[in-house]
């Protein structure tokens, strides 16, 4: 498994390839559409992330010292952003997730396109990912 930082650098490289915002958005939309199907039974209120204008569900599981994330949203751009987060975080152990410094969002120029509401939603998603990791680390 590649490191969290390596995967972030990969994403930064991919986004550098795009010339304008519409290509970036189109990529996020395509990523959102190709996100693996979310188990409908996990679409429950306790998996909802607070602070997003659209609904975002995040679920996690833990085996072999690896945290696996899956998520869904009723908005496709949110889903695209989540798919990037899942790509970065999923499959790592709790310590790696907790230690990770997330810099790709700023470097791909996404945060300048995000409203404060959306940026808060994104922060809530990362916070929730780290809370899951912390819970698994404590349980261990």
């Amino acid at each position: 498994m590649e490191s969290i930082q390596y995967k972030q650098n990969q994403i930064i490289d991919e986004f550098n390839f795009f010339e304008d915002w519409s290509e970036k958005y189109q990529y996020l939309i395509d990523l959102g559409k190709s996100l693996p199907e979310f188990d409908q039974s996990n679409k429950i209120d306790s998996n909802l992330i607070k602070g997003c204008q659209s609904k975002v569900w995040l679920n996690s599981s833990f085996s072999d010292n690896m945290v696996i994330f899956e998520a869904d949203s009723d908005a496709i751009i949110s889903k695209g952003i989540i798919s990037l987060l899942i790509r970065v975080f999923s499959g790592h152990n709790p310590k790696e997730i907790l230690d990770a410094n997330i810099d790709f969002i700023e470097k791909i120029g996404l945060n300048s396109h995000l409203s404060q509401t959306r940026a808060n939603g994104l922060l809530s998603m990362i916070k929730q990912i780290k809370i899951y990791a912390l819970a698994y680390q404590v349980k261990k």
Binding site: W21, I29, Q53, K55, A75, I77
Partner: protein
């Protein structure tokens, strides 16, 4: 007919660039933009006569008091109100509603019933729910029809002898529907019920005469009428306002204070405790003058032409659904395309420099009625243009294509 390009010169913000393109501001139902005359009035106050009102004997205070009270007269004239003292300056519509709802805590009892409509803004629902919680009164709801109008037959059947109040908006902020308030008021009065009209959305588009309509209470906000934020007013008939207890205690609202007993001041001061938003109230008066200099008939007919033009062009877009597609409405269009989430369309429109509102617009019951997570809402004002609508339609089509 108004000269839109000349009017636009009065609004500094309209020449702003967003994402390297010209700003197109279609979120007027949330707040209107501010003309330079209003901005200047605010800075003129702080530069030239900033001082506390009503109590001072010095010249600055007299100037400030006169200008502040001038706005009360302007509001009286514009809204067809009988007396200045029936106008209470507030921080906005929500504040006005809360003055009434908290004032009724002692008079409403558990046998009483209150009526709201399904298309109210949360600010005209939640305070009444809180009042019902405290008093045990029952809240009843006028349902909406699928075309976005009120179900008046249901309203009539809800008007039972126990109904003390009806709370309804003049115009829906989400659907743009203009409600038949005259009929609503006449039916309520025939039932000995009083009516509060939420004018937040209507006041910006339609001139209204509160005395002729025999409205009991009316609330509105300055910031939807080209005025500053944090200012609004509450109108109430003298005898009704006199029957309510004060909302807040403090300076300004008293006539005599001892530790044995305090006497409250007369209207309107009884409800204006503390130092008010003096600059804001004065600027509100300038905003009313500004809009009247353009003329509400001109504003109404111009906005109507923008609404018709935008509606006609939006209808051509595949799989679009417009909520509240009726004749009796102001320049607000709420829509969705296919199953795309409104926030997706809104985010893409923002990249084109187009400001619209997405979400529930503080009217969750409307969203529940239509079983949708929200809508995209474009709302036009008299300073918007048809060429802006062309760019908007084009951007909506591009967004729909991107989302696939």
């Amino acid at each position: 007919m108004l000269d839109v390009y000349k009017i636009r010169e009065d609004f500094p913000i309209l020449s702003k660039k967003i994402n390297n393109t010209d700003l197109i501001y279609f979120d007027n139902a949330a707040t209107s933009q501010t003309p330079i005359q209003v901005i200047n009035a605010i800075s003129d106050y702080y530069k030239n006569y900033n001082s506390n009102i009503h109590r001072g004997l010095h010249s600055l205070s007299v100037d400030a008091t006169n200008k502040y009270e001038e706005t009360r007269s302007k509001v009286r004239e514009h809204f067809g109100i009988a007396n200045n003292h029936e106008i209470i300056f507030t921080s906005g519509t929500t504040h006005g509603i809360n003055i009434i709802s908290s004032g009724l805590e002692k008079t409403i009892s558990s046998n009483d019933e209150l009526i709201v409509s399904e298309m109210e803004h949360h600010s005209n629902i939640v305070p009444w729910q809180m009042l019902c919680e405290k008093t045990g009164a029952k809240l009843k709801v006028i349902p909406i029809n699928d075309n976005g109008t009120l179900n008046m037959e249901e309203y009539k059947s809800l008007l039972t002898p126990n109904v003390k109040f009806v709370f309804v908006n003049h115009v829906s902020n989400t659907l743009g529907t203009v409600n038949p308030i005259k009929e609503i008021i006449d039916l309520a009065h025939a039932n000995k019920s009083q009516v509060l009209v939420d004018g937040a959305q209507g006041a910006a588009h339609l001139k209204i005469n509160l005395s002729e309509l025999d409205i009991d209470f009316y609330v509105a906000s300055a910031h939807k009428l080209c005025g500053p934020t944090g200012v609004g007013f509450l109108y109430g008939k003298s005898d009704l306002l006199n029957s309510l207890p004060p909302y807040q205690g403090g300076g300004e609202m008293i006539s005599n204070v001892t530790f044995n007993q305090t006497e409250y001041a007369d209207l309107p001061h009884k409800f204006e405790a503390g130092t008010p938003n003096i600059a804001g109230v004065i600027a509100f008066g300038v905003a009313l003058d500004y809009m009247n200099s353009i003329g509400f008939e001109n504003i109404d007919s111009y906005e109507r032409s923008l609404l018709d033009y935008a509606t006609e062009n939006l209808r051509q877009i595949e799989n679009i659904k417009i909520y509240g597609d009726i004749d009796e409405k102001i320049s607000v269009i709420s829509f969705n395309i296919s199953n795309h989430h409104p926030s997706d369309i809104g985010s893409i429109l923002d990249q084109f420099g187009i400001a619209v509102r997405t979400g529930q617009h503080c009217t969750q019951p409307i969203m529940d009625h239509f079983k949708i997570p929200g809508t995209v809402r474009a709302s036009f004002s008299f300073y918007n243009t048809k060429s802006e609508i062309d760019l908007f339609i084009d951007a909506v089509k591009k967004a729909a294509k991107m989302l696939g």
